[in-house]
Structure formats: structure tokens, C-alpha cells
Amino acid sequence: MGNDMDISNASPSAAAKFLSETNLYLAPDPEIMNNHGLERRTAYEDQCIAKENDPVRLEIVRERLLAGVNESYDMLENMGAAPGAKWGDCVSAVYTASGDLSLASSGGVVIFCNLVQYPIKFINKYWTGDTSVGVKQGDVFIVNDARYGQAHNTDQSMMMPVFHDGALVAWAGATVHEGENGAIEPGGMPSLAEQIWDEGLKMSPFKVAENYQLRRDLVTFLQNSVREPKLQYSDMKVKMYVCRRIETRIHEAIAEYGVEAVVASLRMNLEDTDAEVRRRLQEWPDGTVRHAWWTDGTLRENVQIKINLEMTKKGDELILDYRGSSPEFTNRSNNSLDVTVKGMLAQLFLTFLWPDIPRNQGVLAPMTFIFDNPSVLKPGFGTPSAQSMMTVFTAWSAAQVAVMKFIYSNPHKYTRVVAPWFNMINTFLFGGLTQHGEMVGNVCADINGMGGGALADRDGQHGCAPIFATMSDLGEQEFIEEEVPFIQIVSKKMMTDNQGFGAHRGGMGYQMILAMRDSPAFGFMLTAMGAKFPNVPGLFGGYGCPTYPLARIQNIDVFDILKTNPGSFRYSIEELMNERPFADAVYSTHPMFLGYTLAQRGELYMIAQGTGGGFGDPLDRKPEDVMRDMDEKLISHDVAWRIYRVVYDKTTLRVDSEATKAARDEARRERIARSKPYKDFVADWVKSKPSAKVPYYGSWDDRTMVHAGSPDKLHPAAQVNPPVVMANPLQVKIDKLQAELAALHGAKGRA
């Protein structure tokens, strides 16, 4: 008898088969998730390219396919039920058979489709050969778990294989920021999530439709798991038919040009983009640019979190090294997966730097990313990341600054250098029963109203676009109010002095004053950073944005006030809060994070969107531009003098040019007199560790060592032990109150 435990003579394929069939759980595959580059050319792609390699013909095919994708994007935006779909926070795309993103729609969110490569590759690897699943024509798969490849769990993607003569030739995909996903808070972006299971739906890639029919049992399960069953169903239908339209257009292109031309076009689109990006990187100077920035909270508490970037360009390669950034927060949702960081950076290069090259993942192929593992930008498998925007947007802005410092000197540019765009989601999330009796949970389109950065020769644009979707929209407020039970009493009104100062100023953010009505149960939440430390800097001598609070006025019904005493209302946050026109009201300010809170009818919630960074020395700003801002009430007299040093007639706004020149010359002399040589300054200024006043996370002067909440908690990066576990803020408050009570009782002699 032989030894039946001896497998030394078993064939490798038998061992692999055994292991694949006995895998207990198919978690995200590191081999897939750690590779943002292009898949190897397949033998079939080689054959197709050997036959079809005329660049002009391939470009014609590419444009034909792109027209189909753009058509599908229009469908998605027009038919999608989620607010995110209506205002452009969605995308559709074509992928190669191997799963590489080859053609994204011209509008929409690049990061979404960049990340869909990962679940497609997972499906290819695990479900194609699995007899219990399989991949066939007419199948559609769905995913929302960010760890398998999504920006965050509030997005849902659907993917459809495209076959020709029985062979897989491409994939179609559609993604929407759906919002509601059954998380611990409504709206899909739960700040309260302390575990991944608080984040709502955790859809690994699975088949949800066969023969172009959604499986009603699975749809029902998903509807049963979220607060908006109608939205879940309707947008699954929309995304499936968007994929189907892409499939149709691919089939039509195949019929006209042949399958080899289509496959070759999709592959060469990636390789050509990679080659062109390498050529463009050659134009940059070789060297290193360093930029660090800090966010000021986890959405549960204010803490200082460092995002550290060292960007090195050499030849035709770019290295983005984020080591030295904060440790991960194991029970907070503000961590960002590394794939999310990479996807967002694809957005930076494809829309802010090289908008003329095809939108596909070839753009990242020449780039290398380095993270501490684990860290806030590469958290562990069980660490929440539902609010990844809180750190990934800062990582994006750090890269934007670094890139601008690399490209300013280039004699050939593809876009203009721009100061940092505002980068935070200064908007309201909402949830509850609408005036129509429906349960909803989602986000206001004002997320898209971020102020643009200033340019070298012009001011930034107000309320322009979010950093993640340069071709999105803000929507019509009146239209929105037909669907949800709150009104923006002040909407899209610029806020005086909310400006990124500079020779050219940043585009400004507008204020929003809203109040709930017509619902028995409706609430708001806020999920933004930047109440203590600004979110973005300026560029080349320009200043960044200010900080942004939430302001509230409670114990009033503004609708009664507007009916009975409308003259007492004030139409700006500044006037309402500083003048306090309502006698019995309670006025308060808070950080820009607020856990889901039920609203009372008529109480006021007030925030401002952010401004982009300024460009250049404010003393170089043309006085007439300062006066135009004055005339438009964008700045006050205080700013016109304190920042811009303009001398003018306050009634007519007529500038005294000579006096202004003299005042600015004097301001520069004062600047020199107040300043020190760098070495002397640094000797006084630099401290060996962070202040004990502020909980600090991340490196200080050595990126191999990171602080974990205090000056003396210092650990090697990626080896923070014990890991960062934050206390429940409510418990912190209770403990503080109990200590005060104990002190009081002690003073009275009670035990």
C-alpha cells in the first residue's frame, strides 16, 4: 500500500486544482489588487494586432467605440435615479477581455471606472472557470465592496462580458455613486462605521443577471438590505441597460471593422497611452518634489493627520511615495485603500494635466506608488474605509501641488498650471421620509460645487466642479426640492472673504442655508474636514482656503418667521450668526462633521463650499481686479486693504494708483523687516516633536517614524503597536462629565 498522504508525485495542475476547489473564502486577490499596470498582451491580442495595426484605422475604431460609450454615459446620467447619476457622479466604460480599462466615457468620474478593472479581473480569474458561476453572454455582475475595487462602498458597479462568436472580447461597465447602501447611517457614507460591517452592503463581485435578465431573488435581497429599495432596483436596471448599449455598439463595430480591429484598438489604446505618458514625463525636469498636508479629523473627533508625499521623476517614470503618512485608524472610516488613491490620481493626470489623452489606465502604467503597509492610505483588510475621501482627497491635492511644481518650467504644456482645487465635500447628506412618503438616504449635488484653483493669468472659477468629476453639474435646486423635504433658503450665494488670496484668486465657494419641512422624520449629516486646518494651500506665493465650520440655529421655525416677520431674516451665515436676529434661538458652530441628526422643522443648518487656492503674491493682484471683487461683494474693505493693499474711494471704488503703489512698496519693506534669514528662522521655529496640545498622527521630521496620537507615542512606520484605536467620542464626553461630577461630589464631601 502506498502512502495516500504523499502528494509529491501529484502533478502541479492537480495540486492547483485541489487548492482552488478547497479555498474557503475568495477574498480580494493581492495579485490583482497590487497591480495597477497593464495586463500582459494575450496571444489573441497579438494575433489581432498583427492583422490590424494601422494607427489611423485603429483610431477610427476607437472613436467609434468612444461614441458608443458616451452615448451610454448620457443614458446613465439621464435615466439614473440616484442624485449622483443625475449630476454626473457616474461613468461608463469599455474594458479589454483581460479587464484593463481601455475607454472611459468623456464625462464622468475616472476613478470609478479605473477601479472596476479589479473586480473584472477577479471575475475572470475565479468565476469564469467555476462551474457554479461561469461567465456567459447576457450575464451581468455587480460589486460595491471597495476592497475588491471601488472608490468606496457607496458606489455600485455593474459589469457585462462582451462575446463574439462565443469568445470573450471585452467587458462593459457602468458605475454610479448610488448613495444609500444600508450602512449604519443613511446615505452610504457612514462616519459612524467602526467596523467594516457597519459600512452596509458588502458586495463582492457576483452574478446578478443572466440572459440579460436581473435575477429577482437577488435584487430583492439587495432591496431588502438598503433604505431605498426603489433606487436599488431602478439603478440596477439602468446600469444593466447601459452595459447592454455598450455591448451593442461593440458588436456593431465588430460587424463593420472586424473583431481583430476592435480587440487591437482596445489594446493599442492602452499601450499608446502608456507610451505617450512616458514621452510627456520625459519633458519634466528630473528631481524630487516634496509636499505634506494635514487633515484635521476622523469625522468623529478632531485630530491632526499627516499625508506625506515625495514625488520623484526620473526619465520616463514617476514615483509617488506616500511613506510617513499617518497610521491607519482601525475603528474609523477615514482610511483610504491604496487602489482608491491610485484611481484618484488617474483622475488628476487625465483631467487636470493631460485631458487630451485617452481616458484609460495606461496613464498610470509608468508610475510607481509606495505606501507604508498598513497606514491610513493602505489600511488592513478589516479596517473601515467608507469615508476614504477624507484622506484620499488630501493625497490627491498633495500630488496636484507636486505636479504643478514639476511642470511650470516645461516649454510645452497640455493644460495650464493651476493652484490647488478645493478638495472637500462641503455638502449635506440626508436621510428619512420624504414629503412623498418614501424613505431616502443620499447626498446633495452641492458636493460638486468645489471652487477652482487660480491660474497664472486668471482667477479660479467659482463653485466650478469637484476634483473627482470635472464635467459634473450642480443641478437645479428647485428640482431637488420637489423630491426631498428641505429647502435651501440661501443657495449658491457667494460668501464674502471666503477667498484663496493671490495675484490671481481662487474660485470661491458659495453658502448654503437650509431647513427641513414637511417630514415627520428627516435628518442631516456632514462629512467634511477642514474646520481647524485648511484643506488646500495656494501656489507660488498664493494663499490657501480658509477653514469651514457648520453653523446651526436651533429652537426656531424659519418658515413661521418668514411668514410672520420676514424682515428679521438675514440672507448670509455671517449676518445670521453675528447679528443673532431671533430672540429665543440657540446659535452654535461645529466642525464640518456631524453624525446623522434628526432635524426639527425650520431650524437652520448652514455651511459654505470651499475656495480654490490663490496663485502668486497678493500684492501683485491688479487693483482693478480687487475692486471688481469688491463690487461683487466677494471681499470686504478689510481684505482689500489688509491682504491686497489697495487704496481707493470706498464710495466709488475708484483706485488711487499712486497711493496703492506706495502702500504696496511699503508693505514689501515691512515684510522684509519682519522676516528672518531661513537658517535663523528654522533654528528658532523647528521643534523636535509635535505639540502636546493637538493629537498628532504621522511622521514629523523622519518619515520612517510616525506618531500615533501624541508627541511621545512614536513608532516605526507601518509597525504601530498597539494599533490606533479611537475611543468612542460619547464615552469620552461621559467620562469627562463623570469626572466633573465626582469632583463636585468630592467638594461636597460625598463619596
Partner: protein, 131 residues
Amino acid sequence: MKVFVTAALNIDLTHEVWECSNCNHNLGPARGNYKTGLLVQERLPQDIHAPILDQEKYDFTFAPDADWCRILEYCCPNCGHLAEVEYLPPGHPPAFDIELDIDALKAQWAEREPLTAAVLGPDVTPLTHTH
């Protein structure tokens, strides 16, 4: 030959020095940190981003918190032109933010036409937006 590295700082490749783009003042070796040739002052953040809400009444006023943030202003010692603004936590070491490979830069520009000013890049005129 000059390379216009930022809107405020040039590198004179011939002499391998940083210089102020406003007055051409020599700011030190191009292989080093340009900041060493500049003057610096620390500003309280509220001196730039003044409170919009009454700071006597509220904790959060649109002004950054000085315990969390300070602003460093770097200017040319000759003309006072602002070259860089850096936001940092109090006491955090300033960044050596631009460190270029000067030999590679020389080789790169040996193949290029000299410029007299930075190139802005292509202009874009937004289309009128209508609903």
C-alpha cells in the same frame, strides 16, 4: 539660460543659482534648497484668514486654529516679493520642496530653445453654458 521653475523662482543654469524672478536677486546654489536664500516670517493663520464669525461668540469662525496651523511666508530679501507660502503645524520642519537634478536639467535644456518667460500653456475658452 534661465529655467522658470515657479512663478517666483528661476534657475540660472549657467551659474547654477536660484534667483528671484521679480528682481533676479541671487538666492543661492541651484543644487540646494532655494529657501535658504529667502527671508521667512511666521504668521498667525487668523492674520491672513480672518474670522468671519464673531470669535467672541463661537469656537469655529472660518479662521484656522493657531494651535493646529501656522503660515510661513518666504520672500525675496531684495525686493520683498512673496515666493512661497507654507502651511504647517506649529514647529513642523519646512519642506525641502523642490530638489532638481541640475545635471539632468542642463542636458535637457541643451536641446531646447531658451525662453524669455514661462510658457502658460494652451488657452481654453469655455463654451456658454445653457439649460
